[in-house]
């Protein structure tokens, strides 16, 4: 795609960065969210120059400034490929929960690798490593949370990058947005929800649909997880349910690990 005339905003010339998209172990859904972005796709392409997007295009170039990287790291060849991307990119963006926290993939880490391999591939050899988020391997400059990422948020972030505005994530939890959306609180309906401790920004996507939050965006700033656990218990949710939510996407892994350790029931190793 050609660059077109230099654009300006309030007289300030804008930089049209070359961007590339890459994926590691993931469902590729976060990238797809961009293609799902029918109405703003053209504007999006005017802001950035896409030079590499395997899911959508055949052309590829190694000359890029911003790398959007989706997926978690689960194999040694991925480590190498990621380091290579890091060395070429000025800004490396972790796109989605897998890249930020390991995503659902990291649930694998509850088990021994041997057991996992055997359960799925029997005795055939297969290579795999414990699941890691990108930042465990390389430096990550910016994270875009969510499973999947929200296209409005990606749009806003890309616009901000183009005009040189800082990307600031909400520090407050989902509840703040949920209440503004006038939802019925799921706790009133007897459903669990991690809204009080999960970082806002998705505009309470799940609770808007009467579906409790699973914490895909990781903890809000200064999240009161201890109190949350107490509340869940008071509402009659089992430790299993609390753990299921906390461990699902990896954002709360430190809390989930602690909870798993404290619980007598060690579901992971019993299998």
């Amino acid at each position: 795609m050609d660059a077109g005339p230099v654009r300006t905003y309030l007289g300030v010339p804008l930089y049209r960065p070359k961007v590339a998209f890459f994926e590691f172990s993931s469902c590729e859904g976060c990238q797809l969210q961009l293609l799902n972005n029918e109405s703003a796709l053209l504007d999006f392409l005017a802001l950035v120059e896409v030079v590499n997007f395997r899911e959508a295009m055949k052309e590829k170039a190694d000359d890029y400034e911003i790398a959007f990287v989706e997926g978690s790291i689960t194999r040694s060849d991925e480590v190498e490929r990621l380091k290579d991307i890091r060395s070429k990119a000025k800004i490396l963006v972790a796109l989605g929960s897998c890249a930020c926290f390991g995503g659902v993939n990291q649930l694998k880490n509850r088990f021994s690798l041997d057991w996992v391999k055997k359960e799925v591939y029997g005795n055939s050899p297969v290579e795999t490593e414990p699941v890691r988020p990108l930042e465990d391997v390389v430096k990550v400059d910016l994270k875009i949370f969510g499973c999947p990422v929200k296209k409005e948020e990606v749009e806003r972030i890309v616009t901000n990058i183009a005009i040189g505005k800082a990307v600031v994530h909400p520090k407050y939890p989902i509840c703040t947005e949920c209440k503004a959306n006038e939802n019925i609180c799921l706790f009133d309906l007897g459903e669990p929800c991690l809204g009080p401790i999960t970082r806002g920004g998705c505009d309470s996507w799940c609770p808007n649909n009467r579906f409790g939050c699973w914490g895909c965006r990781g903890p809000a700033e200064d999240a009161n997880v201890e109190q949350m656990k107490k509340i869940m218990k008071e509402y009659g949710f089992s430790e299993d349910t609390i753990l299921d939510r906390l461990e699902c996407f990896g954002g709360f892994s430190a809390f989930a690990d602690a909870l798993r350790k404290s619980g007598e029931k060690n579901r992971g190793t019993s299998a």
């Binding site: 905003y9 309030l10 007289g11 300030v12 005009i163 040189g164 505005k165 800082a166």
Partner: protein, 310 residues
């Protein structure tokens, strides 16, 4: 739908009228249309002061509006760049110049960084002026002591300009100015002019560089000196204006208080996040006091009584 059943707006206001009038309306307090009314202004000059601070000269485009824009030293305005942000800035120039103001702005975030990238001729939006001011008139016939730390010199400069413009109305006028290091000193080109206008100026830096010949330390050090140089009676007829980080003005004010300057004769300027400038958004509240309405200039007695002020 029968006409008589519709709600008759009887004594209720019809707001459509106000909106259509809004753009022509001059800025009047207590008028509904002033809330989001911005003066369109142009950046006519940008002067780089240091690595971090620029001085922007901003002129309201409409001459009539410019004439009507009257402010007092210590007041601030809200400066807006569409889509980038809006933030409060103290007016840093002489009140005599009405709607042709200077703002000394430090790069601190979105708006201020973007401002450092725009060029002359850029249009900005201005709301204001807002807030309380240094009661300059009350100080007539007295000594004034202007103490600034770092960026605190920005709001102080409006008071200094006032003192320059009205030098004969004050007894002695002294500035004590402290900065981290010599490279961060603001308005260096004006120091001689101030001195020429019979304004005492002492500058102190915390971390000197090789060329620095002046005193080294904190503003309190100069203040100590001043205490020993000037007699007790000097402080009896002195007003102080202190601008700078909270830790600094807390120390300075307490020292001045020991020299028996009453707390009501010391003025400080507080800084909080602000969105409206009009006492609505509550972001600037200290306790229940609005920094934008009841401040930003407070006498030190009030500040002492505000919980969480410092």
């Amino acid at each position: 739908m029968s006409a008589e059943r519709r709600i008759d707006l009887d004594n209720k206001l019809k707001f459509t009228d106000i909106i259509s009038e809004a753009p022509q309306k001059q800025h009047r307090k207590s008028d509904l249309s002033t809330f989001e009314y911005t003066y369109k202004a142009e950046i006519t000059n940008i002067h780089r002061l240091t690595e971090m601070e620029n001085l922007y000269r901003i002129q309201i485009i409409d001459t009539e509006e410019r004439r009507q824009f009257i402010f007092q030293p210590g007041q601030f305005l809200m400066l807006e760049l569409p889509g980038i942000g809006e933030a409060p800035f103290s007016i840093s120039s002489s009140p005599a110049r009405h709607g042709d103001v200077e703002l000394c702005i430090r790069k601190a975030g979105n708006l201020t960084n973007f401002l450092s990238r725009v060029g002359r001729g850029t249009h900005v939006g201005i709301r204001g002026p807002f807030g309380t001011s240094f009661p300059m008139e009350k100080m007539h016939g007295q000594n004034i002591l202007l103490i600034a730390g770092g960026l605190g010199l920005a709001p102080l400069r409006a008071a200094i300009s006032y003192a320059q413009d009205n030098r004969s109305r004050f007894n002695s006028v002294d500035i004590i100015y402290g900065a981290k290091d010599p490279s961060q000193l603001l308005f260096t080109y004006q120091y001689e002019m101030w001195r020429a206008d019979d304004i005492g100026l002492s500058i102190i830096v915390d971390k000197p560089d090789l060329l620095w010949k002046g005193p080294v330390g904190l503003v309190t050090k100069i203040l100590e000196q001043m205490f020993s140089e000037r007699g007790e009676t000097f402080f009896k007829s002195t007003y102080a204006i202190v601008c700078g980080p909270p830790v600094m003005f807390k120390f300075v004010c307490n020292m001045l208080n020991q020299k028996d300057i009453p707390m009501q004769k010391m003025f400080v300027s507080l800084e909080r996040r602000m969105h409206c400038g009009m006492g609505k958004c509550c972001r600037c509240n200290v306790g229940s006091t609005y920094t934008c309405l009841n401040g930003p200039v407070f006498d030190y007695w009030t500040v002492m009584n505000l919980k969480e002020a410092i």
